[in-house]
């Protein structure tokens, strides 16, 4: 028991509330690979939406809450590039803005062992074949924060390529932002929609039945557009694909 890697799941407030299957799938993959998964129930939100909208003062208690909730764990894993990006690149900045150097240092120390799911699987567990089966045609949108804030590179693609039965098709202009951007989607709804239109066009040209990504937020945006236009293409989180097996196709126990 003690030799099993122990990981705390940061499920993210969005997946917790609106996409619980993403959280369940993350648990399922990690447990299948031998991890002991904890869910600290005191967790709420990393504060990213507050920080990126300018409300750093209001984010400060959330940063403190995140640190206090998770710092007793050896590793923290989240199915979100942007939440991990916020933890890694913003938490200490918020603490310092309000003069809490001690909190900033604790946040930095915790950030160093906080991972996006694909990073944890590939870099820490050293696995690319997670034993998944997903007999569908999939195209992958690398979300901006996973790509450019975390530098996950092609780790998600390596994981997808090893999935049994999965046909991966390349997304044109894959690295271009989908137009979500948090409150940008509402504050600049027109520009966001224009970017979404181009992302959807790219997805549709692939002929894939599924558009996958590593962030529920971007998927909510892309999926919301694909659904509105009745395109017949669905969005699925990377974790859900990796959790799927021949026995449990939905990937959720």
């Amino acid at each position: 028991m003690t030799d099993r890697p122990r990981v705390a799941l940061l499920v993210t407030c969005l997946a917790d509330t609106l996409f619980p299957d993403v959280g369940k799938a993350s648990v399922s993959v990690l447990e299948r690979l031998g991890c002991e998964v904890m869910f600290p129930a005191a967790q709420t939100c990393c504060g990213q939406a507050h920080i990126n909208t300018g409300y750093q003062r209001d984010a400060l208690p959330l940063v403190r809450g995140f640190v206090e909730t998770f710092e007793r764990f050896d590793a923290v894993v989240a199915p979100s590039g942007s939440c991990v990006g916020s933890v890694r690149h913003q938490h200490a900045i918020v603490a310092r803005r309000f003069g809490d150097e001690a909190l900033a240092q604790r946040a930095e120390s915790l950030a160093a062992r906080t991972y996006e799911l694909s990073e944890y699987l590939v870099d820490v567990l050293g696995v690319t074949d997670v034993g998944a089966s997903y007999p569908h045609t999939v195209t992958y949108h690398p979300t901006c924060h996973s790509l450019r804030m975390l530098g996950v590179g092609d780790k998600p693609l390596a994981l997808l390529q090893a999935v049994h039965g999965l046909q991966l098709v390349e997304l044109p202009a894959a690295e271009e932002c989908c137009g979500f951007g948090g409150t940008f989607a509402v504050k600049n709804a027109d520009t966001s929609t224009a970017m979404l239109a181009d992302k959807m066009s790219a997805v549709l040209t692939t002929g894939a039945e599924v558009c996958a990504a590593s962030d529920s937020s971007c998927l909510m945006h892309i999926g919301g557009g694909l659904s509105r236009l009745k395109t017949g293409v669905r969005t699925v989180h990377l974790a859900e694909i990796l959790a799927s097996t021949e026995d449990v196709p939905a990937g959720v126990a």
């Binding site: 869910f39 208690p61 919301g224």
Partner: protein, 501 residues
């Protein structure tokens, strides 16, 4: 009129660029201005084509350089060092320009700079000037100030000429007429260029030929040239302009008098520093290995080039930027415009939506800092924080982090000045309170499950919401929203895993 910084530091002065002069402020907010631009299908096509072309060229020539990352790091280091020592380096520049026979003028803001340049032109007795493309003179609206004084300024850069002939505004730092395609330019030339061949085609070479013919006489007769500067070298007093068309070389060498208007941040400490920037700039900017023309001049030389040289050093809010520890690196910008060309927001909304002469990601951080955040409050939000700009910036300006910083500055400023908080501030504070305690958060999640009842049954059954109330209607204007699930993750965990951790 002039301000000599000798004997005192520049840092305590934090005046912003004044209102009522220059082109740093738009008439409407970014979302409003973008709405019109997004509906212009020709503009979308022109921008999409042009930015994709430059983007690809840049990627190709940057990919050839083995030590590109080291060059970027060096560029950043030199600029960081420059900003840390800006006051003394400026004084050193002044001394060396003066020793070489030039005259240095210090302009606190756009108004002072325009007054200085107008006076200098008047003193020559000339009523006409030729101009090299310059962001600083666009920023201060020098052409308008000269026109008010009865002096005609002729833009000689092709794209800048197109903007001027069309009574238009620039929409890109490097390619000010990027919003126009060649058919539109042919029509403009046919209409506005005196004596133009009526058979003029939209072939780029033919268009350039027509402009060249028009400009040639100006070059040969103009007594005064006005330029900006890409770089000024503190330890030699040398100024530099890099360009592609050769118009700059003409303006910098043929007139009797040369007036250069330069933002105080355009400095490098030493001559050898140019080595780094003359590699970084053309590859980032035009996607060329080397720009066709690099002009360097130091003071005046009898019988060779302009016999009178004036350097106007422009602050116009830059000292305020320098005073902000986080925002400071904005001043490292070398105006290459690589960030514009990769920005998905710029590509769709275009440069005019930013209001200021500085569009795109760099404009979204530079303009609000120069004017003070309240005058360009929508710009820091005109980004998804996708980070594409940071990735290409030749001097590694962390634009996304500065955008986030400026949003925080804006919110804090509002907190201090508004008697009643905005609805957004109230909801953010409420969310913070709710999420600071898991028990409160769980209650809020339960309440959000009321969303399960929203919308038509057929949408609910399909797990979607087609129309959300309040400000979230902006979301469902173009996208469905997910129907909240019957059970949150934490409820599932508690139900299936009990109280484990």
């Amino acid at each position: 009129m002039s301000v000599a910084p000798q004997g005192r530091t520049l840092l305590p002065v934090v005046a912003h660029a004044p209102r009522g002069v220059g082109h740093l402020r738009g008439d409407e907010s970014f979302p409003d201005a973008a709405r019109g631009a997004l509906a212009d299908t020709q503009l979308r096509r022109n921008l999409g084509h042009a930015t994709a072309t430059i983007r690809d060229k840049r990627a190709k020539v940057v990919g050839e350089v083995d030590d590109w990352e080291a060059l970027r790091t060096a560029g950043k280091a030199i600029k960081d060092h420059t900003m840390a020592r800006l006051p003394e380096l400026l004084v050193q520049l002044e001394a060396n320009v003066t020793a070489a026979g030039g005259v240095v003028h210090w302009a606190r803001d756009a108004t002072e700079a325009n007054q200085i340049v107008t006076r200098l032109v008047r003193e020559t007795g000339s009523r006409e000037v030729v101009k090299v493309k310059s962001m600083a003179t666009q920023e201060i609206a020098l052409n308008e100030a000269l026109a008010d004084a009865g002096i005609t300024a002729f833009e000689t850069d092709l794209a800048e000429l197109i903007v001027q002939l069309g009574d238009d505004k620039p929409s890109h730092i490097l390619v000010p007429a990027i919003h126009k395609n060649r058919a539109e330019i042919r029509e403009l030339f046919a209409r506005t260029l005196p004596g133009v061949d009526p058979e003029l085609t939209d072939d780029p070479a033919a268009l350039a030929g027509a402009a060249r013919q028009h400009l040639r006489e100006r070059f040969l007769t103009a007594k005064v040239g006005i330029s900006g500067a890409n770089f000024a070298v503190a330890d030699t007093g040398t100024l530099s302009v890099v360009e592609s068309e050769g118009n700059g070389r003409m303006c910098l060498t043929l007139p009797e008098t040369l007036i250069t208007v330069m933002g105080i941040e355009k400095l490098v400490p030493t001559w050898t520093d140019l080595e780094v920037f003359l590699q970084l700039l053309p590859r980032s900017s035009t996607g060329e290995r080397m720009n066709p023309y690099t002009s360097l001049w130091t003071g005046v030389h009898p019988g060779d080039g302009p016999q009178s040289f004036h350097l106007v050093l422009l602050d116009n809010g830059r000292t305020a930027v320098l005073a902000d520890e986080t925002g400071r690196e904005t001043l490292n910008c070398i105006r290459c415009s690589a960030c514009l060309n990769v920005c998905p927001v710029y590509e769709r909304a275009g440069g005019h939506a930013y209001g200021s002469v500085y569009p795109g990601p760099i404009g979204a951080i530079l303009s609000p800092q120069l004017t003070g955040i309240e005058d360009n409050a929508s710009l820091p939000y005109a980004s998804t924080l996708c980070g594409a700009c940071y990735e290409v910036c030749p001097v590694k300006i962390d634009i996304p982090s500065i955008l986030v910083h400026l949003r925080a500055e804006h919110v804090e400023a509002q907190r201090e000045t508004r008697r009643i908080p905005t609805p957004e501030a109230i909801s953010m504070a409420a969310a913070s309170w709710t999420m600071s305690e898991a028990s409160r958060w769980e209650k809020a999640q339960s309440a959000s499950r009321a969303g399960r009842l929203l919308g038509r049954k057929r949408d609910r059954d399909a797990g979607r919401i087609a129309r959300l109330p309040g400000p979230l209607a902006a979301w469902t204007g173009a996208r469905d929203a997910p129907r909240p699930p019957a059970e949150t993750f934490r409820q599932w965990w508690a139900r299936t895993r009990g109280s484990r951790s």
